[in-house]
Symmetry: C2
Subunit: 783 residues, 2 copies
């Protein structure tokens, strides 16, 4: 505890303390004896660097243990489960999808709060007390927990005494998702948005000014002419109404309806609307994208720069813990390095660890300097596939049969391009059959034929290729094929058994069969190289898209909770075959004969969290939101005209800001895929793999998997091969990233200053770092 | 003619011919006597470089004269007028806005064709015959003219014999706009699109594959469940119908209607649509933008690189014509340079020409080398505002009054920030008054007050600032204000005279008054600096947006002509107060009770070119196109289901391709505005202006115009000023561009190879240039 106290004075102080310890060791006991605690400390630093964590933890053995526990995947998962449960409570609370009694949901929520408190106390024990209270993130969690408790008590007592109460604190729940330490990317995304806001604001004001000007003009031009809308209402007579209609026109949702009354009366009036659409819909919306794209890129670049510098700082700290003095320089010995890597990533194989060492220790000196050591975090983040070169089991069990002429013909056939083309053709024919009516007996029979053909394909491939290679972790399409086909087989058998036995015909099982059949067709995409590259890019940006997913969930959740409070039960939905006369107007007489009811939109309501989310998605897509949801129909009709504000704010936040950031991100990611080459670290690993002849040649990889396993001279058996074949094969999954941060760093790598990238970090660098990294510290800064 | 023959052998030959001439002159007559013809030749080259023309013209005196005539603005304008007339013929031809007899339109079209032929013959006389026939652009024009003639003859004879004929060649008319030599930007835009197509195609195929897969799944999932759409039709039972509906969902136009039947029956089905929207609407549409943005940028960059190299090549040619040998180097004398600049740009003032010379001849040697000479084209393209420092006329006429204490107080007041703020406030109050009901007597009176206030403002400014400076060409806002206010004054007086005299109240005049009043409010934008910078960026990209305008007109025109042939008179429009019972269903019984008729969309038809254009704009905005225009309603109802093809192709061409290129362009332009600094040439001019003390200080420019004219020490009269005040003031309109090409070159300037940018062009460069510039010659290459 005294040690923690000591470090409360701040990072500068802390570094001096560390320096003293380091110096102490290197001078007194130059025996290279580095204790397990020190390895653990270094491992914590490396792990922080690898995952871009930036937490100032207590360096006592107890503190390190606590910190390692804090970062343990099990605890993390439990935390995420509690967050998920907390958010999912909205399903069971009034207005509920599945109603549960208040005591049940309250109890679960209370448990969640306990879990969050526990996590927070754990965190408080890990970091110095001063840092803890400085961090707005922690304050935010505490305040949220307290507010939730207060709300629960008030709500409970109101309910007990029979009064009506609002569970307003539910809006705060997404804050847990945002402020738990591990949601770094979401916080960064929010920070990017916040930093972009001032720039957006000016464009937005100009845009609003333009809308107001056009509205004023429209009012003056059309207001006096007694035109009528198709609903027979006066056209453009109320200024607020005009503004609202023209704002909606920007979203294109009421085009061309809003123009028709004027246009029908005078063709020239169309000029007004054409100008409006060009200026506001096209130019301004593009300008929004441009401004957001530029600023988002700029801010993200800054953040990533900081990430990189913090990462280096952590690695230098780890180096200082492990360093021993050798001649004039500080170095880290291979034995310590090995212990370190084992502790940081226990899952790593010995062979791969040796490969990494040989990349770092290029000259095989048995020790590495600071420059090579700092690379480690990046090295560990590169996903390398380790494949053992195995012999096909049949080759061992039935060597004669496996090497017979017929067997070799099969191998050749399966490896031939024609085999792939033949199956692509089969898939196409299958697609046609799927499109046909499956009630027909021939078609139903054909399904069995196709299933058989696919099973034959998989069997042949398993016969030709080593099964463990075929089902290696990274063989996405093999897994995909096999699972889909076996599932389809099972489902098809189940359906026919059910059908033949009791005549029972479950639509659900049939649905699954249909979906599986169609999914099977996707495989054809993988056969065409250009398609594969586009899909790979999409898969690459997948993890970061998940960040946007979280962002959208947070925003949707808040809007959904508020929406439910405002609009719940205003509109009722009925099952489609309901005979209730109220189903004609969604259970609200105000909606009688409205478009909303006529279009059967009753299910678009805020009566539970699921339909709220779906409704919000419909609003994101924008179409129909004016007429159906807002105008004289829908939600404004059953509440008040000011309900429009809710929907307009939603539009600005989600459509104008978040969607544009999403587009900006995809633009940037594709731009990178088109231009940027592999990173330096990747190249150096690849070079080493090549040097050590552990790799698969790129051109051999082009075709199907493991062509090189069965080259003719290998068929005679491995003993006849003069060149010793490596038992392990490494292959860089060059375009996959372990973390979303890795992709971001790659995106901006080209723009990072070269001295950050390439040059070693000098002693002085480390001392100068904390100054600026406390200033805008990404992890300590809260949303 | 023999000279032309000689040059037919190609550019390599041509250069050797030129070299001989040049050498001949420099060796035999080293008297620096350069004939007028040679100056004209050089001027033609410089002018070509300035406007990025790349035409290989005949170098005989006669040829140069013809070429200069060919590029004369008068002839150009006439050509454009003929193109405009040719395109505008669609207004008068069947189906016509203003029907004219066939003989009249045919006659006009024939005249247009004659004009185009004349222009082409002129062009053929200018360039070598071989190049003429090599140029696909010329072939295209000839073929178009011939096809049009054939079509006119066939149509005429069919009409005479009473048969029905199509004027199909009208589709070809936009080709004249594209292929006339001066529409370089439009051709470049088309070329960019063509080059981007292969990349788009792969994404498009993948996208279509995804749509087909989802459609198949939807067919299997929903087809058998006997769901009904709100029109009571079967839901998702026909595969083609499903594909169409889901394609439309990508445009968001039928959301959420297309989902409702499934969603109403089972909440889980919404997952299908959510996935579909995320994958196809959001991800794929963003990928389209990303691919188009990247490729467009790449191709445009290539083209601009070529432009720059061709420009340099032309300038080197001009240099070679004017060069004389001085010691060891070739130089151009100031006298020749002066003649050249006078010929290239007669409008330029002597003072400005001297400024340009002093920029080029930095060391005042009286001659310049090749490096400095090559700059000339860029120098001429920089828009520099030449302002004469004049004395206010009142100062001359009434010096005592003008320098009195009261007068100086007025000057101070007008120049004070508060003056601007006060008028901003007045504008805001005016805005409120405009919004109020103008029938009210007080409001009507207030209008006179505001008009008076604005007049006072203009008078005060004219009193304070020199009128000729106040109304200088570049003082956009001064002109804007004055014109708007005087027009409003005139219109208001006319209205009140009309009203008081005969009670006659022309709505048109009133409309104009209203619009002018509202436009007056725009001025407030100029007061806020951040708004000004956004608007400046928009104004800067204006000229290039016009290129997109031409592009859109070309595409719209083609679609409009085809659309008119297919759909004309299928739907009739009636005036809104028509009592004709047929107006209920747009004159086509098939549309009875259809949404199309109920929404009063009858005027959305292809019955003339104007309504076709408006309809196509509505289709570009996308909303409602499915339900109203295509589905079981609208155009497919009155023709055939395959009419959808027309609309889908239009969507792909305009919305997916052209709109995305437009967005890409705005993105790039804003990116440049945010990052790129002034070009080198601009900086060197500015430096020179500063050196020669001819400029206005930047900080003085910040405020209102000409603050520096009336600094206190100047008020005592110009004679008392010790420092000699320049009579001319130059100011770089740094962010305005004379040509769209200049903006493009600035956009990609940062990426152009620095040796292209900075270093001089060696002799060898010129010889190596033609090889690659004939290969992908921007001007000789046709669309």
């Amino acid at each position: 505890m005294s040690q923690i106290e000591k470090r409360d004075t701040g990072p500068d102080d802390e570094i001096s303390v560390e320096n003293i310890t380091v110096k102490g060791r290197t001078s007194s006991e130059n025996q290279h004896a580095i204790s397990k605690v020190e390895i653990q400390l270094a491992a914590a630093y490396v792990s922080d660097a690898q995952y871009n964590r930036n937490i100032l933890f207590d360096r006592s053995p107890e503190g390190i243990r606590l910190y390692r526990l804090y970062n343990h995947w099990g605890l993390l998962s439990i935390t995420y489960i509690f967050i998920f449960v907390d958010l999912a409570l909205a399903i069971f609370e009034e207005p509920a999808v599945v109603p549960l009694p208040i005591w049940a949901t309250s109890l679960v929520e209370f448990l969640c709060l306990l879990a969050f408190t526990g996590r927070l106390i754990h965190f408080a024990k890990v970091i110095p007390r001063k840092s803890f209270w400085k961090d707005a993130k922690n304050i935010c969690i505490i305040v949220t927990i307290l507010l939730t408790l207060v709300d629960m008590i008030i709500y409970g007592s109101l309910k007990v005494t029979g009064y009506y109460g609002d569970r307003w604190s539910r809006v705060l729940r997404p804050l847990f998702l945002v402020n738990i330490t591990e949601s770094r990317q979401v916080r960064r995304a929010f920070r990017s948005i916040r930093n972009t806001l001032p720039q957006i604001l000016y464009v937005f004001l100009l845009f609003i000014f333009s809308v107001l000007m056009f509205s004023l003009m429209a009012l003056k031009l059309f207001g006096k002419r007694n035109y009528l809308t198709i609903e027979g209402k006066p056209y453009f007579t109320n200024y607020l109404e005009v503004i609202f209609n023209l704002y909606v026109l920007v979203t294109t949702a009421n085009s061309p309806d809003v123009m028709m009354p004027a246009y029908n009366n005078n063709t020239w009036f169309s000029i007004f609307f054409i100008l409006y659409i060009i200026i506001n819909t096209y130019v301004f919306m593009s300008v929004f994208l441009a401004v957001i794209y530029n600023n988002y890129k700029k801010h993200l670049k800054e953040e990533v720069k900081q990430l990189v510098s913090v990462k280096r700082h952590k690695m230098v700290k780890a180096f200082k813990v492990l360093q021993v003095c050798e001649g004039n320089e500080y170095i880290v010995r291979q034995s310590h390095w090995n212990q370190l890597v084992k502790m940081v990533q226990p899952s790593i194989s010995n062979a791969y660890r040796e490969l990494l060492w040989s990349v770092s220790d290029d000259e095989q000196k048995g020790y590495i300097g600071k420059v090579a050591f700092v690379q480690l975090a990046d090295l560990l983040n590169i996903r390398v596939i380790t494949t053992k070169a195995r012999i096909h089991p049949l080759q061992t069990w039935l060597p004669d049969l496996y090497h017979s002429a017929g067997s070799r013909l099969i191998h050749k056939m399966v490896q031939h391009k024609g085999f792939v083309y033949a199956y692509d053709l089969i898939i196409l024919i299958n697609a046609v059959f799927i499109g046909l009516d499956e009630e027909n007996a021939i078609i139903a029979y054909a399904e069995w034929v196709f299933l058989g053909l696919y099973l034959v394909e998989i069997s042949l491939k398993l016969y030709t290729y080593e099964p463990r290679l075929f089902f290696a972790k990274h063989q996405f399409w093999n897994w995909f094929d096999t699972i889909i086909i076996i599932a389809a087989l099972v489902a098809t058998i189940v359906t026919s058994v059910l059908r033949s036995s009791g005549g029972y015909n479950s639509q659900q099982v049939l649905d699954i069969v249909f979906i599986l059949r169609v999914l099977r067709l996707i495989r054809i995409v993988d056969s065409i190289k250009r398609f594969r590259s586009i899909i790979n890019t999409l898969i690459n940006i997948g993890p970061t898209m998940l960040t946007f997913g979280q962002l959208v969930v947070v925003v949707y959740y808040i809007f959904a909770i508020i929406g439910m409070e405002i609009f719940k039960y205003k509109i009722k939905s009925y099952s489609p075959d309901s005979t209730d006369p109220e189903s004609e107007f969604c259970g609200n007489i105000l909606l009688k004969d409205s478009k909303f009811a006529n279009y059967k939109y009753c299910k678009n309501n805020f009566n539970n969290i699921v339909s709220s989310f779906i409704l919000l998605l419909e609003l994101t897509v924008v179409n129909q939101w004016h007429d159906i949801l807002l105008k004289q129909n829908g939600f404004t009709m059953v509440t008040h005209i000011s309900a429009r504000l809710y929907f307009i704010i939603f539009h600005i936040v989600v459509v104008i800001i978040i969607l544009n950031i999403f587009i900006a991100f995809i633009l940037e990611a594709f731009f990178v895929e088109y231009t940027v080459e592999k990173s330096n670290v990747q190249t150096s690993i690849e070079k080493k793999i090549q040097e050590l002849q552990l790799g698969i040649q790129e051109d051999q990889l082009e075709g199907t998997l493991c062509n090189d396993m069965e080259t003719p001279d290998n068929d005679l058996g491995p003993t006849e091969n003069t060149k010793v074949k490596p038992t392990l094969i490494f292959e860089i999954a060059s375009k996959r990233y372990r973390t979303a941060d890795a992709l971001l760093q790659r995106i901006f790598q080209a723009d990072l200053s070269p001295d950050d990238e390439g040059s070693p970090m000098h002693e002085s660098d480390e001392d100068s770092l904390p100054a600026d990294f406390n200033f805008q510290n990404p992890a300590f800064d809260s949303v």
